[in-house]
């Protein structure tokens, strides 16, 4: 589904990603871990098409198409969803109207007619139940005055509504208390299927107890330096990142 080859990217001339290779197939869950500043969130931003990030080398294919060639909204319509590390507030824009617009834009992209109001509301209700999302939040303005946890939950609710093929979750667990973490994880697990895939960016192994990944990758200094299965996450939890850093330093030539 997603095929990243030798991806290099920079922000204002500073290299941030330095040759990422990653292959994600439908039905898989990949976790990306790594210390602060290793480039995890940058990878998410590059995949979603944030303007400040300039791809300097490499390629990204999504479902056989060149992802980097698409505008952010086209990527979204093709089925790439980013759950934001910091979801933004948009005052006065109702959550429901926003979702309706988004759903219909995506449908239009696939040549489908806009959803009828009744069908849309039914879907809204069904997903709201599935995701245990607070109906009061649904009726408010988009993230306006939401707590950090409520914003994250709203993002996951949007994910349920938009039914993406590939969901990238950028530190969705940060700022969530245990209960919210449990609800969000349960929601994600319900959305997992053989047709979609998840890339979960996180600092902590804790989230991966709830959403069990098929693969775990360690990102350090703009590169994936180690890949493994869920056991790798446990090892990281135990030992921290320093042992990996030490290994890498040995490999890197002294400048």
């Amino acid at each position: 589904m997603l095929n990243i080859k030798n991806l290099h990217a920079a922000v204002e001339g500073n290299a941030i990603l330095k040759g990422i290779n990653l292959n994600v197939k439908a039905g898989e869950v990949h976790a990306i871990m790594g210390p602060n500043g290793s480039g995890k969130s940058s990878l998410a931003s590059v995949l979603a098409g944030r303007e400040a990030y300039e791809v300097t080398e490499g390629s990204v294919e999504f479902e056989g198409k060149d992802l980097l060639d698409m505008s952010p909204e086209v990527r979204a319509r093709e089925g790439v969803f980013l759950a934001f590390q910091y979801p933004v507030e948009i005052p006065g824009v109702s959550n429901i109207n926003f979702l309706k617009t988004a759903v219909n834009e995506i449908r239009a992209h696939h040549g489908q007619p806009p959803m009828q109001a009744k069908a849309f509301l039914d879907m809204l209700k069904q997903k709201q139940k599935l995701m245990e999302f607070d109906a009061n939040l649904m009726n408010r303005s988009l993230n306006e005055g939401f707590s950090g946890g409520e914003k994250k939950r709203n993002d996951i609710f949007q994910m349920a509504m938009l039914e993406p093929k590939l969901a990238i979750m950028d530190e969705t667990d940060s700022g969530l208390d245990i209960d919210a973490l449990r609800v969000v994880s349960a929601g994600v697990n319900k959305l997992r299927s053989k047709d979609n895939a998840f890339v979960i960016i996180t600092h902590y192994q804790r989230l991966l107890e709830y959403i069990v990944p098929d693969y775990v990758h360690v990102l350090y200094n703009g590169r994936i330096v180690k890949s493994g299965t869920k056991e790798l996450a446990l090892e990281l939890e135990e030992k921290g990142y320093d042992w990996l850093k030490a290994d890498i330093r040995l490999e890197e030539p002294v400048q």
């Binding site: 944030r50 909204e73 979204a76 824009v93 995506i106």
Partner: protein, 481 residues
């Protein structure tokens, strides 16, 4: 950032939708301002002597008054002698029914989306359409008459209800208020007149649609609305003009009078031609609008959506004379291209327990300059007066400007005045967030702006809210900041 540049450029180059001109035979006064012109207008309109005298007094004041110097923009030279002060479609001055109206004129209003024909009036809005200097048609007259409501052109009111006109004309905006108000007194052409009798709740929205068509003409309409004790009326005003290279002057005066327990809701959607992207042409919209809550427990509420005009310069205000009266001002002002808006309100608290509420939302894009200027004045007898002001500015792009000049004068220490202000930029983060959900940048900005202005748009009657929303989209479509 190049995407932003493209979109801003496209926005700057957007065409004005209502820029067409209607080819129709016109009766036009030669350009120039003097006593002769005033006598000519008065004669054409078959006015009584007292009104001519009143006009001439206005003209004397106009000659004495000087241009203001406090405004936050460069006041362009206005050639008062180069303007024609009277233009009316030829043939008939007064139409008895729509069948007599020139079909070309009706087509114009159709093009503007103003339904004049009775069968289209199911929407429940009574319309008075003013084309250059003349009121073309007033619909729904019969139904209104049955309730004793008077809704007609100003000219007709002078003929049919001179006592009401004489009693209230100039009582809210004195002839000497400012130079443009004085000019309007001298040369006002037509406008609307509304009288709601005691205890009557006007069952439909009353609406006037103003259109400047002829070249080199100004529009100087006058609107007078009187809500007698315990009555209610909601009044809407819309306006457009053709695209022209030269600037045209619109200097209107609106007076509202609310007696005991009466309520007037006045909504404006202003879409005069704003000029091109280089700032050439466009309407100078120099308007004086004021209401007086004369009676106790009366209420006047102004709602305005200002999207057009090269320069907008106006401060719809409320004099809160009656005890327990309420004044409200809700405004969205958009400046794009090289437009300038210096607008706000005046709330003058005189009576006890008077309340005012000001919600102003400025939006600036491209090279637009937006100024909020507001006065909240609490008189010595206005005990327990309350004011709440919220004044927000939204910037799109990095070459536009937002300015705020709030004035507060309080002479009563039991009064409470609150002022809140924010300035924000449409964030790239906000636009990207919406992009990431499949919404393109144009629509994203649209949603953000409409969300921002929602509190004000919510005040508009249904039919107008939709139009205003569309207008905001057209004016700002696709800007990213």
């Amino acid at each position: 950032m190049s995407a932003e540049q493209d979109i801003l450029q496209e926005l700057a180059g957007r065409e004005y939708e209502f820029g067409f001109e209607t080819q129709i035979e016109m009766d036009i006064a030669p350009p120039g301002l003097n006593e002769e012109t005033i006598r000519f207008i008065s004669m054409k309109k078959n006015e009584p002597e007292w009104l001519l005298e009143w006009r001439l007094k206005g003209y004397q004041l106009f000659k004495k008054l000087s241009m203001p110097t406090w405004q936050n923009f460069e006041l362009p030279e206005v050639d008062f002698q180069g303007v024609s002060y009277y233009a009316a479609p030829k043939n008939k001055v007064k139409y008895e029914s729509l069948d007599e109206v020139d079909p070309e004129l009706l087509r114009t209003f159709e093009k503007l989306g103003i339904p004049l024909e009775e069968q289209k009036m199911l929407s429940g809005v009574a319309v008075d359409a003013v084309f250059d200097s003349i009121s073309v048609a007033t619909t729904f007259k019969k139904q209104l008459n049955e309730l004793g409501i008077i809704f007609c052109s100003f000219g007709e009111a002078v003929q049919d209800h001179p006592e009401l006109v004489k009693k209230y004309l100039g009582t809210v905006v004195p002839q000497s208020d400012n130079i443009y108000a004085a000019l309007n007194c001298a040369v006002f052409s037509d406008g609307s007149f509304v009288y709601i009798p005691k205890g009557v709740r006007c069952p439909m929205e009353l609406s006037t649609y103003f259109r400047i068509n002829a070249k080199n003409t100004g529009q100087f309409e006058r609107t007078l609305i009187i809500a007698d004790e315990g009555s209610y009326v909601s009044y809407l005003e819309g306006c457009t003009a053709p695209m022209r290279d030269e600037n045209q002057l619109h200097a209107a005066v609106v007076e509202l009078i609310a007696l005991d327990n009466a309520e007037i809701k006045y909504s404006t959607v202003q879409n005069w031609y704003p000029g091109d992207k280089d700032g050439k042409g466009g309407i100078y919209n120099f308007v004086t609008k004021r209401g007086i809550c004369k009676g106790h427990h009366s209420k006047i509420s102004w709602t305005q959506v200002e999207t057009g005009s090269a320069i907008t310069w106006k401060y719809p205000g409320v004099i809160l004379q009656g005890d327990n009266s309420i004044g409200e001002f809700y405004s969205v002002a958009v400046t794009s291209k090289k437009q300038v808006a210096d607008t706000g309100t005046k709330m003058v608290h005189i009576g006890k327990n008077t309340k005012s509420r000001i919600i102003s939302k400025g939006i600036s894009a491209v090279h637009g300059q937006n100024t909020y200027r507001g006065l909240v004045k609490i008189g010595p007898n206005a005990s327990n007066a309350r004011n709440f002001t919220q004044c927000d500015s939204l910037l799109i792009g990095d070459r536009c400007g937002a300015h705020t000049f709030p004035y507060i004068e309080s002479k009563n220490n039991t009064a409470m005045v609150e002022h809140e202000a924010t300035t924000s930029k449409i964030g790239e983060d906000q636009v990207f967030y919406l992009n990431q959900r499949g919404i393109d940048s144009e629509q994203a900005v649209n949603m953000i702006v409409n969300g921002y202005a929602k509190e004000v748009l919510n005040q508009l009657p249904m039919e107008f809210a939709v139009e205003a929303q569309k207008l905001l989209s057209i004016t700002l479509e696709g800007s990213v900041g």
